[in-house]
């Protein structure tokens, strides 16, 4: 499907996935309803990460800082300045974008694996900063956004983001927007250049493309999505804490994307869903679920590096975006 607009099959598949998510809320029991809400927000995070890892070929180990920037950008303004929810969300995304501009300017100057080291380092500095400014962020302990803060007026209605139904549909709306943006963007000329950079950066430069600028924009878009996920997470679930800035939260999207399939549009959702349930089930039996996370990472990369959808695309469904 190179160079052609998204085919009917692609549109149909994504439409079917979104429709299934829309219908699932009526049949799912409350517990799984809650989990799926969380998974959709985290899938937005993973989709943002996938743009960088899957399509641009840049491995970052610092995306927790963009997630946390969104979380704090929304949380702090709503909590301390009593901003309304939509404004808080926007400020979260802007915080992520601003951070990505600084980090991108610095980190993209490196070549190869140094990018991963530098992003991880900046993420750790960001994490320490959230601890250092404990007067506002309350550090590890974090703070809770009360139900009053999470109400927003929409015309004559007042929507409370603490309501499960509203929460689910808000998460679905955000995920839908990001998924469609990702499908469209990856097929656009810009997305094609990014894939060319992933495959061979020098050759892309020789073809006359400004690879630094393209990578920079990819990082901005990726960070904006991650920050949107962070802001939504804070506003929907009402808790903001520095745990979300730890290295563990930088590794999670990597795991989800690799499991679902890097450079596939639906891989992030599938990966996040599988991992969330796997951890949920495992933690019923053992506290050492991180051991399994580690094992899965090693097994994936050794025997199954393309992930679920990536392998499926290779073997059967070549049209899969």
């Amino acid at each position: 499907m190179i160079g052609r607009p998204a085919s009917a099959r692609v549109v149909g598949l994504h439409g079917a996935v979104l429709a299934a998510l829309l219908l699932l809320q009526f049949i799912l029991p409350a517990y799984h309803h809650g989990i799926l809400t969380r998974v959709m927000v985290l899938a937005v995070y993973a989709t943002g990460y996938n743009i960088l890892l899957g399509y641009t070929g840049l491995l970052s180990l610092g995306h927790a800082m963009f997630f946390a920037a969104g979380l704090y950008g929304a949380g702090l303004t709503v909590y301390h300045l009593a901003w309304p929810v939509p404004l808080g969300f926007i400020s979260g995304v802007l915080a992520g974008l601003a951070l990505a501009a600084i980090v991108g300017f610095l980190a993209l100057r490196t070549v190869g694996v140094a990018f991963m080291i530098v992003t991880m380092m900046f993420a750790q500095a960001f994490y320490l900063l959230t601890l250092y400014c404990a007067d506002y962020t309350r550090g590890d302990e974090g703070f809770v956004l009360t139900q009053d803060m999470r109400r927003m007026a929409l015309g004559d209605w007042t929507l409370s983001l603490a309501e499960p139904v509203i929460r689910y549909n808000a998460a679905l709306l955000l995920f839908g927007i990001c998924l469609i943006a990702c499908v469209w963007w990856v097929g656009s000329p810009m997305g094609r250049v990014l894939i060319a950079i992933r495959e061979n950066e020098e050759r892309t430069t020789m073809l006359g493309y400004h690879t630094y600028a393209h990578k920079f924009i990819a990082l901005l878009i990726s960070a904006a999505m991650c920050a949107a996920a962070g802001a939504a997470y804070g506003l929907l679930f009402g808790y903001v804490g520095s745990t979300f800035a730890t290295i563990h939260y930088s590794i999670s999207p990597l795991l989800w994307v690799l499991l679902g399939g890097a450079a596939t549009t639906l891989g992030p959702l599938l990966g996040a869903l599988c991992m969330f349930y796997l951890v949920d089930i495992l933690s019923g039996y053992t506290t050492a679920y991180l051991l399994f996370v580690g094992l899965i990472l090693v097994l994936l990369i050794v025997w199954f590096p393309k992930g679920i959808l990536g392998t499926l695309r290779e073997r059967r469904l070549q049209w899969l975006p």
């Binding site: 491995l59 610095l106 980190a107 490196t110 070549v111 250092y132 580690g294 899965i296 090693v298 050794v302």
Partner: protein
């Protein structure tokens, strides 16, 4: 206490941090230099070294120096064996692809950390220092062991330099680093060199950990800080440059130790990261790094 003596104390603390950091980062840099891969589990090898040191010292009763000597030998050997095994079982199958190796070593990080938690437990446990004498300055007394750490670290650094620059093993390593394929054509067992280098890198981290464990305590989460500091050091010094690594370790260790004494350890780490940002702006390849062809 006046400012002068206070500064001396801070400088001594910084020196201890720098010495141990230099050893740890050297291991990371060595592995990157020869194999062109980044070992994210490097900090966990450090942690394993410390935890095993606790194990060895608690095996022996009697003079603490005996147990410590056992730990100094046994702990790096076991960690080296584990690293060698991980290299043979996992990294070799990935053909040392840089990105895949990062993912695999992240997995390794989780596995080692979780196993340490399950076997060793969540407690931080102290190890008795092998020597207890104090050096009496006019203003304060200072633990002699800390200065011993600096001395031993320098010895290890010199030994590493000697092996790399003056022995046949070092020559083979440098040849592999310089051009893998030509080295292979000259009958150098590149495969085994890689396994050995990976194990050696982990052993350096383990040695550093054994040295530091009487000052810090052994804890299953202690690996992250040395990993991040080592990352800072190798980026500032230039990835793969051993000279740059030692120089940057001295710089970062000293500033980290001193800022920690005067202000807070958190601020010290944030400032070190900002220093990295500065280096990246003016010399993206690091202070001693060479521009990639």
């Amino acid at each position: 206490m006046d400012f002068g003596p206070y500064l001396l104390l801070a400088a001594l603390e910084g020196l201890v941090t720098a010495a141990v950091l230099a050893l740890t980062a050297l291991g990371l840099s060595l592995v990157f230099g020869v194999m062109r891969i980044v070992n994210v589990a490097h900090g966990e090898f450090f942690m394993l070294g410390a935890v095993l040191a606790w194990g060895f010292t608690s095996l022996l009763t009697g003079h603490p120096a005996l147990g410590f000597a056992l730990a100094m030998i046994g702990s790096p050997l076991i960690v080296g064996a584990i690293a060698w095994l991980a290299e043979r079982l996992v990294l070799r199958r990935l053909h040392y692809d840089p990105e895949a190796t990062i993912v695999a070593t992240i997995g390794l990080l989780y596995i080692i950390q979780q196993l340490a938690l399950s076997v060793y437990g969540p407690e931080a446990r102290p190890v008795t220092a092998p020597v207890t004498f104090r050096i009496q300055f006019p203003w304060f007394g200072y633990a002699g062991y800390k200065l011993l750490v600096v001395g031993v670290s320098i010895l290890f650094l010199l030994a590493t330099w000697f092996v790399i620059a003056r022995t046949r093993i070092g020559l083979i390593m440098r040849a592999t680093q310089y051009d893998r394929e030509t080295a292979q054509a000259f009958a150098i067992p590149v495969d085994r060199v890689y396994a050995g280098v990976f194990a050696a890198g982990a052993m350096l981290a383990a040695m550093a950990a054994v040295l530091i464990v009487p000052i810090q305590q052994a804890h299953y989460l202690m690996g992250l800080d040395p990993l991040l500091l080592s990352f800072i050091v190798v980026i500032i010094g230039g990835l793969g440059s051993l000279k740059g690594t030692v120089f940057a370790a001295l710089l970062i260790g000293m500033s980290d130790g001193m800022i920690s004494v005067f202000f807070s350890p958190t601020l010290a780490k944030i400032l070190a990261t900002l220093l990295v940002a500065l280096v990246l702006v003016y010399r993206p390849q690091g202070l001693f790094g060479e521009v990639a062809q």
